[in-house]
Symmetry: C2
Subunit: 338 residues, 2 copies
């Protein structure tokens, strides 16, 4: 059973998942002459746990070919779906059972197709899969936060090359999310304005860090980018919840993401990167500390190209050192013809 | 001129240092047939900026051979020593000039000698160099925090193989340090006890995460380790400041660090790692928010082996996933015969 432990000095939770040692790694170790089996390709559906969601335009049978997007439980989950949380003190410390969900969104049956090279509809299907799974997992009262992310390439922590994203349902709200929520709340209390809207207005007015805009979303290099060519994607419509996106707005989101990733690919030559969706915690229908969240917090996306590493300076301070100004990165990305 | 920018959403400072793009990297890119010049070796003193401190047992001339430890300004500094901070608002955002010091502690003239393979006196000389430079840089009122760290190996962000550490004088107190200080202060206010002392007592009593103890220091695997084989080193004596260590206590510190690193080397086969010294901010002689710091905060060291990467999950949450329990790591490290 995986276990969550809290660091009393910084309030950070760590997931202990010894089983994940066994997962196969595409990128590590010496090359072998055996061809590797891609469990995420069409025809290999029996090699993954049974699907919990799929886009099957012709109504094909679950766990057979004929799908466009397929969501399955992670075979090497960091968290387990069965059991009770049992939060408890262990002597001086706090722990709880590693209960949660850990699902893989297989973005395409084609082992060589990257997310940004799919059609607009294909990209929208991937985000629609996120949304469907989110709405389902939210019903489970053990889960307090739903984390959506995508690791591409070994430098970004990916262990499989076939295009995929991940969804984790967590039994606690992560410190980093709480921190963003607190700052957004404090900003709203002080100014009666939304900090995301203020950032967006500032960027759109100023234009020098803007990379791409459509009717629903703005892609820009943030003022204090941690990494060269880091991108943020903000929705123009205020909502704390990613799952509020639907219909035409989902197509606009797909367009913004496809555009952002395509520019990064041209600029950096298929970079390793992390993409993270930041959304509000799951909220129960009671008045709580986050009650004004509909006004103060906005869901958003961060894309972090991993050209540079994380060293002692970053761990010691939470600081980052970046050698590329966001204005330069944005100018370079803007002039790319797609 | 480097520049510091603050992320308004999370309060994190990022250092923009475009000049650092030009620094040579030992570990990256294709091998060339040209032998690389090691600017940190004895006889190559002219290849570094002039020394600001050195241990020269026979009183040899500065910037010539005959030294054991040598401190020089970083040739590719993330921060510059000359100038004013000029903190200012840029539209919606906050910035200041990248003023600070960035020094390199060359731990030995021998290009092949690792820190843990030096004599006890050799290791103590390295930490004594940290202390001397700290006491000197503290006098500059532009500097609010002194960060000491060591990156070993390309996975840990090192660009040079010759054994060295780094010291940075920062114009702001980093968020991560503020966060630890706040938690330590809150703990003391609530319990009238020091959180570091409570952790230390708990670990020493329990023993299962202890790796090594001497009269002055305790080496252990922390309860919520982020990385497999992560180590913390706590002093037994309460002091917020690393620079309070001197005399026999410095030898005990050298013994604890040498012991810890030697065990990691046997267990993991010369791992890449980061070592960070966490110490209190520079304090001016006035009453301030941190006035009880002599009781509530304790300087300490963290050693982070970098066997695993940082992926979207970690960036999205501040969570970490660890596949090795600290109890197992400690048991393994304890039974190693040095």
């Amino acid at each position: 059973m995986p276990e969550l432990r809290k660091d009393p000095l910084v309030g950070r939770w760590v997931v202990f998942a010894p089983e994940r040692k066994q997962r196969p790694i595409d990128f590590e170790g010496p090359e072998t002459s055996l061809p590797k089996v891609d469990a995420f390709s069409a025809g290999n559906e029996r090699l993954t746990p049974g699907e919990v969601y799929a886009v099957r335009p012709n109504g094909s049978t679950p766990n057979t070919p004929g799908w466009k997007v397929r969501v399955v439980p992670n075979r090497y989950p960091a968290l387990r779906i069965e059991g009770e949380l049992n939060p408890e003190a262990v002597g001086f410390y706090d722990r709880l059972n590693g209960i949660g969900a850990h699902e893989v969104i297989i973005e395409t049956p084609d082992p060589t197709l990257a997310l940004e090279d799919q059609s607009l509809e294909g990209v929208a299907d991937v985000f629609q899969a996120f949304r469907h799974r989110t709405l389902d997992l939210m019903k489970d009262s053990r889960f307090h936060y739903l984390l959506m992310f995508k690791n591409v390439g070994p430098q970004a922590g990916a262990s499989v090359a076939h295009a995929h994203s991940q969804l984790m349902a967590l039994p606690v709200v992560p410190m980093q999310i709480k921190h963003k929520l607190q700052i957004a709340l404090r900003y709203f209390e002080e100014k009666d304005r939304n900090i995301f809207e203020d950032i967006l207005r500032n960027e759109v007015k100023n234009q020098e860090r803007i990379v791409y805009e459509n009717q629903g979303f703005v892609v820009f290099c943030p003022f204090a980018s941690r990494f060269p060519f880091e991108l943020s994607i903000y929705p123009r419509r205020q909502s704390p919840d990613f799952h509020s996106v639907d219909g035409h707005e989902m197509v606009l989101l797909a367009d913004a993401v496809k555009n952002a990733l395509s520019r990064l690919k041209v600029a950096l030559g298929t970079p390793n990167y992390n993409m993270v969706v930041f959304t509000a915690p799951v909220r129960r229908p009671r008045k709580n500390y986050w009650s004004t969240i509909d006004f103060d917090f906005r869901w958003h996306i961060e894309i972090l190209p991993r050209l540079t590493g994380i060293a002692g300076f970053e761990f010691g301070t939470g600081f980052f050192i970046n050698t590329t100004l966001p204005e330069e990165a944005a100018q370079y990305l803007r002039q790319i013809r797609l």
